[in-house]
């Protein structure tokens, strides 16, 4: 079980700020494929992954990163602070 969090328009499209996910996905990309296959709202949120960023346990990561030992995955759009 991992915690999956969504921010900004990903949160709005999926309709959730976060959820617990039962997965055996090896990488972030595998997890995204699983989520996409769930429901239309996930498929739409992850339609263009070039517009999605990911953090694993609060550190920015790539989609090819392994999920081994990871407890929290966060998906969000490119950051716009400052």
């Amino acid at each position: 079980m991992i915690d999956v969090l969504y921010f900004a328009w990903l949160r709005e499209r999926i309709g959730l700020a976060g959820e617990k996910v039962e997965t055996r996905a090896a990488t972030v990309a595998d997890l995204v494929d699983e989520l996409r296959a769930r429901e239309e709202r996930y498929a739409m949120a992850f339609e263009d992954v070039s517009a999605v960023r990911v953090a694993l346990d609060q550190e920015l990561a790539d989609f090819s990163a392994p999920l081994d030992g990871v407890r929290e995955v966060a998906f969000f759009p490119p950051m716009t602070g400052g």
């Binding site: 969090l5 921010f7 900004a8 328009w9 949160r11 953090a55 609060q58 920015l60 929290e72 966060a74 969000f76 759009p77 490119p78 950051m79 716009t80 602070g81 400052g82």
Partner: protein, 147 residues
Amino acid sequence: MTVRLLNGPFDPGAELAAFTASSKGAGAVVSFCGIVRGDGDMTAMEIEHYPAMTEKALAAHRSKALEIFDVSDALILHRFGRLQVGETIMMVATASAHRRAAFDAADFLMDYLKSRAPLWKKEIGANGAIWVAAKDDDEAALARWET
């Protein structure tokens, strides 16, 4: 505290004064403030962030600036939640013996905040709300500091 996330207004003038007073021996202090502009029909701004990560990310960026540049101190303040037009969104300040280092470190911190801190801005207007799009420029600006 040199990194602070704030859910209400702050006073950049008072922050600059306090930062300067605490930076004994620094000959140069640079500050940058970002302010909510009332563009078009925009009436307010909403800033979302990732509570478990934001402060950690800002502290890491501050440490990196202290490591790369010859600065004696650096301050990062950032608002989240609802902001009105004219309110200050964020502030960075840097102190150094030398003006070049103070300028460069502030510039570097801004580039990091713009595209590496988990914060997202939404512009609230009379006709709805829109998430601010990231600029390609911001990524290019960041690439200047890659070593």
